[in-house]
Subunit: 305 residues, 2 copies
């Protein structure tokens, strides 16, 4: 390890009961030379838009054939009692339906292959200007009729406090395995919110992660800060087709409504972290979360085997 | 009273633990002579569309001046500890914020006046072809960030089982006191669903109404029936501006998502029932719900004082 919470100063303090003022983002959003263009699907304009708003949608990145095969894998996992009983799986509050399954890139070859796919990896490497590894991967299922909402949060806030991610040099890639429509709880984003670190109130309870993955109660901003962020950037609802991908900055504020429709919403999440940004001890001072939620130790960069 | 549960046969049995098959609607949707046109805002085409889909949106029915004044009344009521402590008020699950306040047409003059406004009353009388009275009235507040969802249900199912409304001859009028947008939990409807009575499973617990107004657990259809209804009619999200009104049939299946936005969604509801359709004893066999939820006894028709 190159550092620990004791030697790494906490430049983004949160949940310590005192700090409430926003902290301006210290790191760049796009680390690569801004003149670089890597051609479709990402051109210079998309890179600028990503820098400004914190996200970019890549329509139709994955073919229908691929999404059909991946969806079958997900359905097979979701219907397995054994899988639902694993520590890496999270069920819906109040039912035994699978809500999330973590560490899919280590457990299942098709998801590992997708995580290393150059269509995603090349873009992520360009934006972060570094080798990358998977900090976290998961299937997110929002079941028909009963899939619950997720309140506003910055992933980075959680990864910093609970996992010890030092700075903002990570990108989430969300791949739609179903259409994400206005009716099935699509991701909502606050454009521009990635430029501000919003400390959260309340301390982190021990072993908070199991409850938080079902329903988040800590690591959520105060309503005043949210109103201010939304007043500045508005809300964008990412309605996009099956096979589309969304890349978004680790510090972008996002949420999603419940799913009251008969159409399940199934997405894959891969979080790419720069190898130069590997984890230190959690800034909460508590023990780190399990490896299936946050990859620890010397990371093996992707696509360089 | 003209009847009781003992003498009035239950043509729409529900929550009795045995019935699950749909029952075709026995009553008309539009009772008035279909050739009638009452001019703007409702013309012959709107009446046909209402008959077919079960709802009609009347854009800009109420002026900005009126909505501003009514919103002030609502804010004053919502901030009153005394009001929130009344039996006719319902607070959000897990907080003391006002979610609903019932019987506003009996308690507060400005709401009584609106309930009797010819802009609404003339249309309702035409569609129901009868004198009408207010079966139920309420303010529905969906607070910013924390307003909770409401699951799919037909109001008539509840009014029939819990209040003893004999047949489908009632219309709900929802008046927007704020914009209803895709972000603040607008009403979602299943067009055409008003033509089918979908019996619900489970029996009604005694004094169910207090819990059900916070979070509905009984009187909701099974997922299979919902999927079938949505497969036939789809889902419409009623996004409409402040001052617009939505008229919908008492048996139209509807729901609404939670509000994760900083914009509260405040609507007024007036339920107009035909005087020929006045309540009998509840078909559940349980004692009736309080008068502030369902007007009982000889009704005084509106606008005929």
């Amino acid at each position: 390890m190159i550092g620990s919470a004791r030697t790494t100063p906490d430049v983004y303090p949160s949940r310590n009961g005192t700090t409430t003022s926003w902290i301006p983002r210290r790191e760049p959003v796009v680390y690569g030379p801004t003149g670089d263009i890597i051609g479709p699907p990402l051109d210079r304009q998309s890179v600028r838009s990503y820098e400004e708003s914190g996200y970019v949608v890549l329509d139709g990145l994955i073919s229908e054939q691929e999404t059909t095969a991946l969806r079958r894998e997900v359905e097979s996992l979701a219907s397995s009692d054994w899988v639902r009983g694993q520590p890496s799986s999270v069920t819906e509050p109040g039912s035994n339906e699978l809500r999330s399954l973590f560490s899919i890139h280590t457990l299942y070859a098709p998801f590992r292959e997708l995580a290393e796919d150059p269509r995603i990896l090349d873009i992520v490497r360009l934006l972060l200007n570094d080798e990358v590894y998977i900090h976290q991967s998961r299937i997110n299922i929002k079941p028909a009729f009963f899939g619950k909402e997720f309140f506003w949060h910055s992933d980075f806030e959680t990864w910093h406090v609970e996992d010890g991610m030092p700075g903002m040099r990570a990108i989430s890639c969300c791949i739609n395995l179903t259409d994400n429509t206005r009716f099935n709880g699509p991701l909502m984003l606050i454009p521009g919110s990635h430029k501000h670190f919003v400390p959260c109130v309340g301390e982190t309870p021990r072993d908070h992660y199991r409850a938080s993955l079902k329903r988040q109660q800590y690591g959520t901003p105060d309503p005043g800060s949210l109103s201010r962020l939304i007043g500045m950037g508005g809300i964008v609802s990412v309605e996009s087709g099956c096979g589309s991908a969304l890349l978004f900055d680790c510090n972008l504020m996002h949420a999603s409504s419940g799913n009251l429709s008969p159409w399940p919403r199934t997405n894959l999440f891969f979080v790419y972290n720069a190898v130069s940004n590997q984890l230190v001890d959690p800034f909460s001072g508590l023990p780190p979360r399990p490896d299936f939620i946050a990859t620890r130790g010397e990371p093996a960069s992707l696509g360089r085997r």
